[in-house]
């Protein structure tokens, strides 16, 4: 139905897309994969009228079309769920659904027919089989709820092609399953899907065909059934990499505890009575369903969330006053969940971002030691293979994965003894993901401790030595990562939920 | 009027930060105190809309008399009528008289302007007059003075050139000084500017400072109001040669006397009363 021919897109001197061609058939799930910065999001933004192309054509049913603005794309049936959520936080779900559409109104007085609006939304909800409280404000929704809401919004209009840019990046497995059901329902109705993801398993399971992008060019389009994870990775990177298998490490039990929590609760009760400990050289995973309070737990430890009671011990010292600054001085660092909102200064350069936590190292009271700063940044950019034009490039211009590397470099610069990592591999391509894992393991080997939150059970199982399961802000289980399966962990999560449901009744 | 023993007087002005208005208000306050009245001063910082609001407020509190200081009553016509309906007499001090008011005591702006302008022209004799006018037309009193100047300068064949600049309020001294500095640099030749006519004393002071700082000779400045900083400059023999001293004390006294009469239930002596202004030059500045 949709054909893209020889599309070019330039940012400054740099081509983000060069001669990209692609075709999508009716009722097809077409996957798009590629490393961070390969140009996937850029392609999507051109298809939806956010960017204009610098060359090439787009054909819809063999007719040339010009997608000059988002409105046009919507009119011809191209709907999109962008990588970064596009919701109005102060609006309810209902209103977000109607954003950019003609609201149902009375003829006299132009009053919006709120009831009709709700009915329409509820109807759609039933049709798609989504359960979601649309009366909530978007700012109070969890990442998965937001994704569902955006998909519903796409389905509001006649939707012939639905583009999903990393929809599962912020979702856990359970939520992802819901999403896949939804996708399958839409496809059954004849909608085509263009699906972007870094999660190879999803791609292999879901899609019919897959297009691989590399450095702004198309490396090829293939039938998914002929593909395997290894092949895809190879196509993406144009090199054969040894599959990075998890090396089981054993932690010396005589090592000291870096972090100890005893009965810690946060002021807002998002974290309740949590007890756990992390040893030197240990990677401890925290798993739980969305909204189970994992982010909040890390924030409480780090000092951005007020603690109510409980005991927190770092390296044997009982901690009584909390702030990110103090945490940093104790060697505790946080890799936040939302990189753009909480991790990066978007209008600053790679260099300025990287050294922000460790400014005293590079300055006296009177001046910045610029030479030293530049040298160190140069070294770390090399070590982590950050892809950027120079260290003066604004961080916004980097792809997501490279931004995450800068966040890690910033963390590593402060020689931490404890890493609090919240979804560190979110929206990161497979290669970078492996790199980040390697990096964490390397740090553990150097006797640093890692507390890792991830919505991906597999990730936790891959690198954690021990796993805690969190539910409604409480720790409900602890497993050593030996012979434990993902099923078992998920079992705990769900059973716990049932148990609590029963109590409430 | 109210039944209470202490009479309440409301003194309203938008220009309390101007030296002369301030002087009058303080006099009025003092006189009121001497008469055993309770005087309340309301200033609206140059905002006439606000002045109307505040006037309504004091009317609602049933004050015994209202004094408008340095205010054009035309801008609060409706409020004056409202006061009249409630039998609250409205006095003007350095304002103007319009229907509905009890009386107004003022210096005659037109007459003062005539006095100073003629003095200025006389000082320059038959030399060509290249005049800088520093004024602020939105102020009603200053406007009257400026209009009189406009009339007189058109009648005088010696006036060769007129540069009029509006002075920014607030901050008139600083602003007029800047403008004068720029004009002096733009007119470097001796005689290209021979006189500065300022609508009131503050711009005259700013201009004088600029002329002094530039070390320019052959430029004379006049102001109007007779505030003590200006009088001081005249005394010291600066380019500021003259101002018209308004008799603010006289005005305040006239108004106080009339308020007294009205509060005793008598009628005012005269609806428009003038406190005569005097020309201040180097000769009489010391006194």
């Amino acid at each position: 139905m949709l054909q893209v021919k020889q599309l070019d897109k330039r940012f400054g001197h740099h081509y983000a897309l060069l001669g990209v061609s692609l075709d999508i058939k009716d009722g097809e799930i077409h996957a798009l994969v590629g490393e961070n910065g390969a140009g996937k999001s850029t392609l999507i933004k051109i298809l939806t009228g956010i960017y204009s192309s610098d060359g090439g054509n787009i054909l819809l049913h063999d007719k040339k079309i010009e997608i000059t603005e988002p409105k046009v794309a919507r009119k011809i049936g191209i709907q999109v769920v962008h990588q970064d959520r596009q919701l109005i936080n102060s609006f309810t779900g209902y209103e977000n659904l109607f954003l950019g559409l003609t609201y149902p109104t009375y003829k006299v007085g132009f009053k919006i027919r709120w009831k009709a609006m709700k009915q329409k939304a509820e109807q759609l909800k039933t049709n798609l089989g989504i359960s979601l409280d649309l009366g909530k404000l978007a700012e109070h929704m969890t990442p998965s709820e937001k994704t569902m809401l955006e998909i519903m919004r796409a389905a509001m209009l006649d939707c012939r092609l639905l583009i999903l840019d990393e929809p599962t990046a912020a979702l856990n497995d359970e939520e992802s399953e819901l999403l896949f059901d939804l996708i399958n329902k839409l496809v059954a109705k004849g909608t085509s899907i263009l699906y972007v993801s870094h999660r190879m398993n999803e791609i292999l399971r879901l899609s019919h065909r897959v297009t691989v992008m590399r450095n702004g060019k198309v490396a090829g389009t293939y039938f998914t059934k002929d593909m395997s994870k290894e092949k895809l990775v190879q196509l993406m990177t144009d090199q054969t990499t040894a599959a990075n298998k998890h090396i089981k490490r054993s932690v010396n039990s005589s090592k000291l505890d870096v972090l100890q929590l005893e009965g810690v609760s946060s002021f807002d009760q998002k974290v309740q009575d949590v007890s756990l400990h992390v040893k030197q050289g240990e990677i401890v995973g925290i798993f739980g369903l969305a909204g189970s309070g994992r982010t909040e737990l890390l924030e409480t430890i780090y000092g951005t969330r007020k603690i109510r009671n409980g005991k927190l011990v770092i390296k044997g010292r009982n901690i009584t006053s909390f702030s990110p600054k103090k945490s940093l001085s104790r060697g505790v660092i946080l890799i936040p969940e939302d990189r753009r909102a909480d991790g990066l200064i978007l209008n600053m350069s790679v260099r300025e971002n990287m050294t922000l936590s460790t400014l005293p190292k590079f300055s006296s009271i009177f001046r910045m030691k610029k030479k030293k700063e530049q040298a160190v940044v140069h070294t770390w950019m090399g070590k982590l293979q950050v892809k950027a034009v120079s260290q003066e490039q604004p961080i916004t211009e980097l792809s997501g994965g490279n931004q995450q590397k800068v966040v890690f470099a910033k963390a590593l610069l402060s020689d931490p003894i404890l890493f609090l990592c919240d979804e560190p591999t979110q929206a990161v391509d497979v290669m970078t993901r492996e790199e980040i894992h390697r990096l964490l393991i390397e740090q553990a080997k150097k006797d640093a401790a890692v507390l890792l939150v991830s919505s991906d059970v597999q990730e936790v199982l891959d690198i954690a030595d021990r796993i805690y399961v969190l539910h409604e802000g409480k720790t409900v289980a602890e497993f050593p990562n030996k012979a434990v399966t993902s099923e078992q962990i998920l079992q705990v999560c769900y059973n716990q939920r049932k148990q609590s449901d029963v109590i409430n009744e | 009027g109210s039944k209470k023993d202490t009479k309440k007087i409301a003194i309203l002005t938008p220009y309390l930060s101007s030296v002369t208005t301030n002087q009058m208000v303080n006099l009025l306050k003092k006189e009121s105190k001497a008469n055993g009245w309770d005087a309340n001063v309301v200033d609206t910082k140059g905002d006439v809309g606000q002045l109307a609001n505040r006037m309504e407020d004091v009317i609602a509190t049933n004050v015994d008399a209202i004094v408008l200081v340095s205010t054009d009553p035309n801008q609060v016509k409706a409020q004056i009528q409202a006061a009249k309906e409630k039998n609250i007499p409205v006095f003007g001090c350095d304002s103007a008289y319009i229907d509905g008011m009890a009386m107004n005591a003022t210096s005659d702006n037109t007459a003062m302007s005539k006095m100073i302008t003629e003095h200025l022209f006389q000082q320059l004799g038959n030399k060509p007059i290249n005049l800088v006018v520093l004024t602020y037309r939105p102020h009603p009193g200053v406007l009257k003075r400026t209009l009189e100047l406009d009339k007189l300068r058109k009648q005088n064949p010696n006036v060769k050139k007129v540069i009029e600049q509006q002075v920014n309020v607030p901050g008139p001294i600083e602003n007029s000084r800047k403008q004068m500095e720029n004009l002096l640099l733009a007119n470097k030749e001796d005689g290209s500017i021979t006189a500065v006519w300022a609508g009131w004393d503050e711009p005259a002071i700013g201009a004088t400072q600029a002329i002094q700082a530039a070390g320019r000779k052959g430029i004379i400045v006049t102001g109007i109001d007779g505030n003590s900083q200006a009088v001081d400059l005249i005394k010291k023999g600066s380019p500021l040669v003259a101002t018209v001293k308004q008799n603010f004390t006289g005005m305040a006294e006239l108004v106080t006397k009339q308020i007294e009469q009205v509060l005793q239930g008598k009628a005012v002596t005269e609806k428009e009363q003038y406190a005569p202004a005097t020309l201040i030059t180097k000769e009489n500045a010391g006194k």
């Binding site: 109005i88 | 309770d38 905002d47």
Partner: protein, 321 residues
């Protein structure tokens, strides 16, 4: 604590959070009523206040609209002055009343639209653009009036709107209430209003969703200028004269009202009723303090402190919940 008590406390806090500023306003009214029962707490004075705040409310509504789309219009003061002056000049020239009102309003809409157009077309900051526009408008007003107040030969008909009453209530108060309700309705119950909020909430998301961002922003600026000019016209009508700087004094209070309002009703979002309450608080403070014969300088100090405290209290209410 027992469960019910907690719920009660929570809902009280929530009320406080949402209606904090309103609450502060009521507290202020109570104080003044106790301190000067004979003059403050009278029907006359309520009418008086409602008339006094009418200009401020009207101009603040406009400020609220542009704030809703995430912009600022610093030219509203100059626009109000210009509106009043143009209307008065037309009235002096003997034009019929409806023309005297219509022409400045049309002019203001054009100017507001130009403001918006420059800002959306060239993607420049509204702050600096409207600051520039304000300067230009001030110059034009000065040119039109030669700096002088216009009051001579203004026909009585021109004073009608600003000075007459209907059923003992000033027409001005009716206009103010009517406009507040109309704009509340527009902002809360029409697609246009919702789009403005969407733009302010997340401009790029709105654009990507197909909202005509530029067009709606331009309209917000046009409405804002319209309301500013109307406030200026009504002020001229009320005073029976038009000063070239009369509207300038409305500029800061208008934004103070809108910002005070942002802490009410809809937390952190500019909203019409919040603005109304904000403007009312500012008006009531000025009125009550004058009646209590608080000296000018102390009035300023008290007003400033109350504004700060009102905002802080409301925040504390929020954090506690």
């Amino acid at each position: 604590m027992n469960r019910m008590q907690t719920t009660y406390a929570v809902s009280l806090r929530k009320w406080f959070r949402v209606y904090g500023t309103l609450f502060a306003g009521i507290l202020i009214i109570l104080c003044f009523s106790l301190l000067s029962p004979d003059s403050f707490a009278t029907v006359d004075n309520v009418i008086n206040i409602s008339r006094q705040i009418s200009f401020l409310v009207i101009i603040s509504l406009g400020a609220t609209l542009v704030m809703a789309v995430g912009e600022f219009d610093l030219s509203i003061g100059a626009m109000a002055s210009l509106g009043g002056v143009v209307a008065a000049k037309l009235a002096v020239a003997g034009q019929p009343m409806w023309l005297c009102i219509l022409i400045p309003l049309v002019v203001s809409v054009v100017i507001g639209y130009i403001n918006g157009w420059i800002i959306t077309k060239f993607k420049v900051l509204s702050f600096i653009t409207t600051l520039g526009m304000g300067t230009v408008l001030g110059g034009i007003t000065f040119w039109l009036t030669d700096g002088a107040t216009i009051f001579e030969n203004i026909p009585d008909s021109f004073r009608y709107l600003g000075q007459k009453m209907w059923f003992t209530v000033p027409i001005l108060s009716f206009i103010m209430l009517f406009l507040t309700i109309v704009f509340w309705y527009i902002m809360s119950h029409t697609a246009f209003g919702r789009k403005l909020y969407a733009i302010g909430g997340n401009e790029s998301a709105s654009r990507n969703a197909g909202v005509a961002v530029a067009q709606n922003k331009n309209l917000a600026f046009a409405f804002c200028a319209l309301l500013a000019a109307l406030a200026g016209i009504l002020m001229a009508s009320r005073l029976g004269s038009a000063q070239p700087t009369s509207g300038d004094g409305l500029f800061l209070p208008a934004y103070a009202a809108a910002f005070l309002g942002m802490t009410s009703f809809k937390e952190g979002v500019p909203n019409i009723w919040g603005t109304f309450v904000g403007a009312a608080i500012i008006g009531i403070l000025a009125n009550g303090l004058t009646m209590l014969e608080v000296p000018s300088f102390l009035q300023d100090v008290v007003t400033g402190c109350i504004v700060i405290v009102a905002v802080i209290l409301q925040k504390i209410g929020r954090d506690a919940s």
